[in-house]
Amino acid sequence: MTNAKHFGASKLISSPFFLILLLVLIINIIACTFQRLGWLISNPSWNLGTKGLHNFAVIPERNEGAQQTITKVLHKKHYKLRVTKLPEGTVISAQKGMWAPWASVLFHISLVGIGIGIISSYLWGFHAVLNVTEGQIAKAQRGSFIKTYDGRLTKNVDPGFDLGVAEFEAEYNQGVAEPTKVVSYVRVFRNHEILASAPVSPNNRIEYNGFQIMLSRFGLAPHLTLQDQNNKVIFDGFVNMDWAVHKAPIFSVRDSVTLPGTDIKLEMELFPDAKIQQDGSIISISNEPKLPLLTVNASENNQALFQGKALPGQKIPLSNGMTLMFDKVAYWNGFEVSKDPGVPVIFLFSLLGGVGLMGAVLLNQSEILVVLNAGETRVGGKSRRFRGLFEEEIAELVKLIELGKGEVRNYG
């Protein structure tokens, strides 16, 4: 079991075997790209050559007007034409998709470029989650973040500012658990001086000092105060309720926490807009904290201390002599604070890669050669890809010029 875990059975994406496979893929792309690039540079003519040119059709009789039809048809199919008069007859050379191999290489080089961008962000970037309660300020410094994924080369990236939430708004449609509008009015501080102030909502982030600040999560946080038998305050703060349960039309949020510095465990359910029904059960008629009610199941080392409900401002006497007070409810906001230095590189190469990929997919390098002389007409050609479809194109060409007597042979 331990070996299976070590191998990555339980954590696939960060497992060694997945990372090794990813590395092998990257090395493969780099090696193949440069091999192909070298081949293209050493073949500057970029053409398929005449060696191996296949005769598709040999028409024993000359059709008057064939040259005009051929040039018209090939031109319509976006071939670049070159007509040469030789003693043996008239040679029509048609080419298209000459850039296709370069498009493919451009796409693969772009993958390498995107990889460089990703590695840059991995090494020098920063990404962290900071939770701030409405009306409070949180120091956006190491240690305050819930989790950080900072750059491998610069372990001590510090945004160097504090983040505050002046107000938070969430609008709900009746009977719907998910909000339709969410706005957090954010203030950026340094040494208690307001440096910036802006509304932040999902899809509407702000940038400060190169750091992107965006709202990714929010929830409700009851404010609790715990006092001991001598009225000494042991805990005083908001408890962010993280585990949300939305069961329309009964909206409630549940969570379980152990109060810091104590062994007191609280299992809580918060009804933001509570209504007590005739049978004594509690429901919440909306998600907005208009009339909050908290049900608490308090225990200490598996010994029950209290089980019941509380309204804001209500004191809860615990059986160990302490007092728990539920004061009010506020929103907490989860902010993603990030810096991705590799993103411009990734975007640039994504753009180039898109152009390359479209070229590689839509272009097909092919050549058609038609030799017209007094006695016969020969139609030949070569295609890098889609040879079956290319043969059809030649057959169609032969049919269109109404020579009819040519035998379309299979490509060798």
């Binding site: 696939l12 909000p179 899809n203 982030r205 898109g354 479809l389």
Partner: protein, 268 residues
């Protein structure tokens, strides 16, 4: 007015069902006229379906977002792309034999997840999400059509089925067409991943989080990349490349239907 979009899609489903029956009849009894009528039924179904999708989009005021709307759009794009190809190549009509039952399954699955028009969650209110959805289903339409080609190719290998599938394009042409469709799907898939990453950054603050849906989307893209390399570079042809294509499509099915329902923590 509020229900008209649903009635239009339901009528389209009936017409697609009729097209399926006509395709089966036309193929079994080798009646070209019946198959032509099946394609005509496809056009009628598409017209009704387009009306339904556009109306739903207009009523909701946003791009398809729930499973019913997404499956409906996916089915519509697959049919539209099929019919567009049939107009260019008549011998591709036979693909409808596989395509229409698939589309019926897709839309039917969507109806099992039906929900009324809802306002979009804030993180879904993004132009990038609309682009992401359009690229995703355009890619799927290409892959679906290519899958249909592979099914016909493989079925033709069985003596019992071969006489009924004579009108389909030849093996070499089917190989090429499938590769072309997959290449186009691959390009759209790349754009889907890119636009999805930009949307994810706007909505959740991270371009890529290795969540199961993202990861399986990448795996699918890599499998189609493998297909294209085997086809173009190593010249794989015939049954083995078609079977790989069928497997690649199976991964799409896993990515789209199975992965979103898996418990995330067990995977990551």
């Amino acid at each position: 007015m509020g229900r008209l979009d649903i009635y239009l899609v339901l009528t389209a489903v009936v017409v697609y069902g009729l097209a399926t029956v006509l395709f089966l009849t036309g193929t079994i009894f080798s009646k070209e006229r019946v198959t032509t009528w099946a394609v005509r039924a496809g056009f009628l179904g598409m017209a009704l379906h387009t009306g339904g999708v556009i109306l739903r989009w207009w009523i909701s005021g946003h791009a398809p977002s729930n499973l019913y709307e997404l499956n409906s759009l996916g089915g519509l794009l697959a049919v539209a792309y099929y019919l567009w190809n049939v107009r260019k190549r008549q011998d591709l009509k036979i693909l409808g034999l596989v395509l229409f039952p698939l589309v019926l399954l897709l839309i039917g699955y969507g109806f099992t997840k039906f929900s009324e028009v809802e306002p979009l969650k804030p993180e879904y209110q993004s132009f990038w999400l609309t682009l992401h959805i359009i690229f995703a289903f355009t890619a799927t339409a290409c892959y679906v059509l290519s899958f249909c080609g592979s099914v016909i190719y493989v079925l033709r290998g069985f003596k019992i089925a071969a006489p009924y599938l004579e009108k389909a394009p030849g093996d070499r042409i089917l190989n090429d067409l499938n590769a072309r469709l997959n290449a186009l799907g691959f390009a759209n898939h790349a754009l889907m991943i890119l636009t999805g990453a930009i949307w994810a950054q706007q909505a959740w603050g991270s371009y890529w989080s290795w969540d199961p849906i993202e990861t399986w989307s990448l795996i699918t893209w890599l499998v189609y990349g493998l297909y294209l390399h085997l086809f173009f570079t190593l010249n794989w042809r015939g049954k083995r490349i078609q079977i790989l294509n069928l497997l690649a499509f199976a991964i799409i099915v896993i990515s789209y239907w199975l992965v979103p329902h898996l418990p995330v923590r067990n995977f990551l």
